[in-house]
């Protein structure tokens, strides 16, 4: 059994060397090519000074080089950090500094968008396309240099499953994203559970809808490799256009789809789907946000022979519970369960009396235990100590458990149901968003005195973001200026769609901003006819 991720590739490359491993934008490479190129990249990285445990950033839009890079970095014994190619340069620069990324694998236009000091901090950049010219300072290495390195074997590195494989950054409530450290063991605990449960075979064709910095992609990439199957990377030219996307699923004969529910809803509503078109599809997995029942029912009716599974779990554990949709219950269920624990993972709910919930009807915060649980957040001992805690429910040996911050209920049917959050983390399109990070961005503008970000529930994307802002006396600022300011700090999906200005924000009796009132007002406003909404 594989104990480090690259073994999944090497085994499949031995068995299926000429099989297509990955497809993206009309290009593809075989298992042999993926194995050889990643070996070469690993040697290149080591020769340029990358050592075991070093962080290497991946900063380019999805393409076949994405997989070569991920595997190349782990073969070098290093840790890859997928950087969102659509995030503002400031945020990417922050992440590069935060986890001490020494080198980037990138494209010229992305590299150029980074700030001076960030670029100066990097030791070298490997360019996935031809580099046009070398920059001042950072060493530029063209992809063509890979061919100068050995292809048959990866470098000698001593790795165990406890070594880190990648770091995924998620929204941080204090204004800056935080890096979730994930080991080979963390990843493989998930991958092995998926392989068993979903019986992925070499005949399968997995689509990859999620961005590579989002942990849904771990299934798409590594379960394809594990089985000797093919992964089809979905890029924006397809993702944005439901008709095109549906055509793609049909033409490429996709058999397994995994995405956030809103991507499926958009396909349902806008792509004229039918069962014949999607005849090869056998399994649909969804995760990341609550799937509105009305759309799930439509999907289930449309595709009666497709297995539907609801997966749940934060980045800190990847998927920890799952529920296979029971079609006969759909009409009567008003909410889908998050289900039961995955094999090799344990979950339990802890109530207000700090006891583990055992009785049906009990509610509490969901905790996760087992080898899926992260070590914590990179260079953030404080946050780690809050969330990855000693298991006080077991005294025989030391171990850590993760508190999800999700409130759940254990039901009669033995499934857990999601109730809500303890804090101000929300989901929008499956993206995890800390309202505090948005507020930090707003407050960083000199004209802003007070700011509150509010999640307004939405049918399709779970939540939309709006903000209410009080400017300093005498300041005049337009909503669009503030949105523009935000764009330099936070990803687009976090920018408030609407910004309402007030002289002062309402306060509670203790003098804190009355978020509850503002939330209620915003929701009411959102439900009114458009002409009455207070907006720009």
């Amino acid at each position: 059994m594989a104990y480090i991720l690259q073994q999944l590739l090497t085994k499949s490359a031995e068995r299926y060397p000429e099989k297509m491993a990955v497809w993206a934008r009309g290009r593809s490479i075989t298992y042999r090519e993926l194995e050889e190129r990643s070996n070469q990249l690993a040697h290149l990285l080591r020769q340029h000074g990358i050592k075991k445990g070093d962080r290497v950033g991946l900063y380019f839009p999805k393409c076949v080089e994405s997989l070569i890079s991920m595997l190349g970095v782990v073969k070098a014994g290093a840790v890859y950090v997928p950087l969102d190619p659509q995030a503002p340069a400031d945020r990417v620069g922050y992440i590069i500094g935060n986890c001490g990324i020494r080198a980037l694998i990138t494209k010229e236009e992305k590299r150029r968008s980074l700030g001076e000091s960030t670029l100066a901090s990097l030791e070298f950049c490997v360019m996935t396309e031809e580099a046009t010219k070398s920059s001042n300072g950072t060493k530029i290495i063209p992809w063509t240099m890979l061919s100068e390195f050995p292809a048959a074997q990866s470098p000698e590195v001593v790795l165990t499953e406890t070594d880190l494989a990648y770091i995924l950054y998620t929204s941080g409530s204090t204004g800056r994203p935080k890096g979730v450290m994930l080991s080979h063991q963390n990843a493989l605990t998930f991958v092995e559970w998926c392989a068993e449960t979903f019986e992925i075979s070499s005949e399968d064709r997995l689509s990859n809808h999620a961005p590579l910095h989002f942990d849904l992609s771990v299934f798409d990439v590594y379960n394809a490799l594990e089985a000797g199957a093919t992964v089809y990377l979905i890029t924006e030219d397809l993702a944005l256009f439901p008709s095109r996307l549906a055509d793609f699923v049909e033409q490429q004969g996709i058999t397994v789809w995994y995405s956030v529910p809103s991507a499926l809803t958009l396909l349902l509503l806008h792509a004229n789907l039918n069962a014949e078109k999607l005849g090869r599809l056998r399994l649909i997995l969804f995760a990341g946000e609550v799937f509105p029942m009305k759309y799930l029912r439509q999907l289930a009716d449309l595709l009666p022979h497709v297995e539907l599974q609801n997966l749940y779990g934060p980045t800190e554990t990847n998927v920890c519970t799952y529920y296979e949709v029971e079609r006969e219950r759909l009409a009567s269920l008003d909410k889908l369960p998050i289900g039961i624990a995955c094999e090799n993972t344990e979950v339990f709910a802890v109530n207000d009396q700090d006891e583990i919930v055992t009785q049906a009807g009990g509610t509490g915060e969901l905790y996760v235990r087992g080898p899926a649980v992260t070590y914590g957040y990179w260079a953030d001992a404080e946050k780690t100590a809050k969330m990855v805690v000693p298991n006080r429910f077991q005294k025989d040996f030391e171990e850590k458990i993760y508190r999800t911050g999700d409130l759940v209920q254990l039901a009669e049917d033995g499934n857990y149901y999601f109730l809500g959050r303890r804090d101000s983390m929300i989901k929008s399109r499956g993206y995890r968003i800390e309202l505090g990070e948005i507020e930090s961005a707003l407050l960083s503008h000199e004209a802003v005195k007070e700011a509150v970000a509010i999640a307004v529930p939405d049918d399709i994307v779970s939540n939309r973001i709006v903000a209410v802002v009080a400017a300093h006396d005498g300041s005049t600022i337009k909503p669009s200026e503030l949105q523009h300011h935000c764009a330099s700090r936070i990803p687009k999906y976090m920018i408030p769609e609407l910004i309402e200005f007030r002289e002062n924000l309402p306060k509670t009796s203790t003098g804190k901003i009355d978020r509850v009132q503002l939330t209620q007002e915003s929701i009411r406003a959102a439900n009114q006819p458009a002409s009455e909404v207070v907006s720009q």
């Binding site: 008709s243 095109r244 958009l266 806008h270 949105q483 523009h484 687009k492």
Partner: protein
């Protein structure tokens, strides 16, 4: 919701301006984008996302009164202000 400033000499709003204004007010600002050229890819710059596509199509259908089929909703036709103008003009023949 979008208004087009009309100079005294203009009788009817210029199509391209209408398109550009709609995109600016309803899509770009919400992404923090305050300017874009007429031939720039609105998808690559992130002005248009998976929800924005449908707001744009609604605008074409309701405000500009052109019917757009599902096949016509793709990365070529809706790429930029220029291509959208082309799409609309092709429908108004």
């Amino acid at each position: 919701m979008s208004t087009v400033n009309q100079t005294p000499a203009t009788q009817a709003p210029v199509l391209k301006d209408q398109i550009r204004d709609f995109i600016m007010e309803n899509l770009a600002h919400a992404k923090g984008i305050t300017s874009f050229t007429d031939d720039e890819s609105l998808m690559e710059s992130g002005v248009i996302d998976s929800l924005g596509i449908f707001r744009l199509v609604s605008f074409l259908e309701e405000d500009l009164r052109v019917r757009v089929s599902d096949e016509e909703i793709n990365a070529e036709t809706l790429k930029s202000v220029n291509s959208i103008e082309q799409l609309v003009l092709s429908k108004k023949k």
